[in-house]
């Protein structure tokens, strides 16, 4: 409530390039990026279900795409995006409850979400390869 500052003299929010890069910036940006990526994944899931209902020939076409190298890369990235969006989404639900908002807690939970996104696809791949 600084009455001396007139509206035209209000300070601008600092621009991106003057901020030191910080893990909570990454966590915020990655949440958006993974969310937009999962939009595409959900479209793929819906099309995959429709292909299964359409019959073996249509399913084979979808399966050929998923089994190709780009399909496998996409599936790997989808699992990573899902894991990240899940972990960071829970982080934001905790924030909404008013907890975990100190810089130290927010940094730690941001790192956890990023590491979980790296570990989850490897874990799922290990489960499928070496598990029951």
């Amino acid at each position: 409530m600084a009455g001396a500052i007139r509206p035209e003299n209000r300070p601008l929010s600092p621009h991106l390039q003057v901020w030191r890069w910080h893990v909570t910036m990454w966590s915020s940006i990655l949440h958006r990026v993974s969310g937009v990526g999962l939009y595409g994944a959900a479209i793929g899931l819906a099309l995959w279900l429709m292909a299964a209902a359409a019959g073996p020939e249509t399913y084979a076409a979808a399966d050929a795409m998923l089994s190709a190298w780009y399909g496998q890369v996409a599936l790997y990235l989808i699992v990573a995006a899902l894991a990240y969006h899940l972990a960071n989404g829970i982080r934001h639900l905790v924030f909404d409850a008013g907890a975990g908002l100190t810089p130290a807690d927010a940094d730690a939970s941001a790192w956890f979400a990023i590491l979980f996104a790296v570990a989850a696809p490897i874990g799922l791949w290990a489960l499928l390869t070496f598990g029951a």
Binding site: V36, S67, G89, I90
Partner: protein, 132 residues
């Protein structure tokens, strides 16, 4: 800015009813509620579908979707997931697209496309279970 400073209307009177939309509470709550549901549905689908359909064959997929628990889970995942992603993308569009023609067109597309995909995918699951 300077025009606003010269106005005879009070600052509160100038901003009243000029908020971003006039009401975002419903959007906020719907996004959080669907997020809580997806904390359960997302990991469940990723792990159980990967384990059940590991050979990616047509028969394994039909078997998976023919299990009543899986069918109900996938229908819930598609309905809740596509609603959640539409809410999230709406926020992204409003944040980054300023020009009304493009913004409104994308908002309309973002409202219709997930609904079309959700109805198609749910119908596909029903078709697998009850189709001829």
């Amino acid at each position: 800015m300077s025009k606003a400073a010269r106005s005879m209307r009070s600052p509160l009177g100038q901003v009243r009813r000029h908020g971003a939309s006039g009401g975002g509470t419903g959007h906020f709550i719907a996004q959080r509620l669907t997020a809580i549901a997806l904390v359960v549905l997302g990991p469940w689908f990723a792990v159980s579908a990967a384990l059940s359909i590991r050979d990616a064959s047509y028969l394994a997929t039909i078997d998976f979707l023919s299990n009543p628990v899986n069918a109900v889970g996938v229908v819930l995942l598609v309905a809740v997931g596509l609603y959640h992603m539409s809410l999230g993308m709406q926020e992204v569009i409003v944040d980054y697209i300023a020009r009304p023609p493009a913004k409104v067109a994308l908002l309309i597309l973002n409202a219709f496309a997930p609904l079309l995909l959700a109805v198609g995918a749910i119908f596909a699951v029903l078709l697998v279970n009850f189709g001829v």
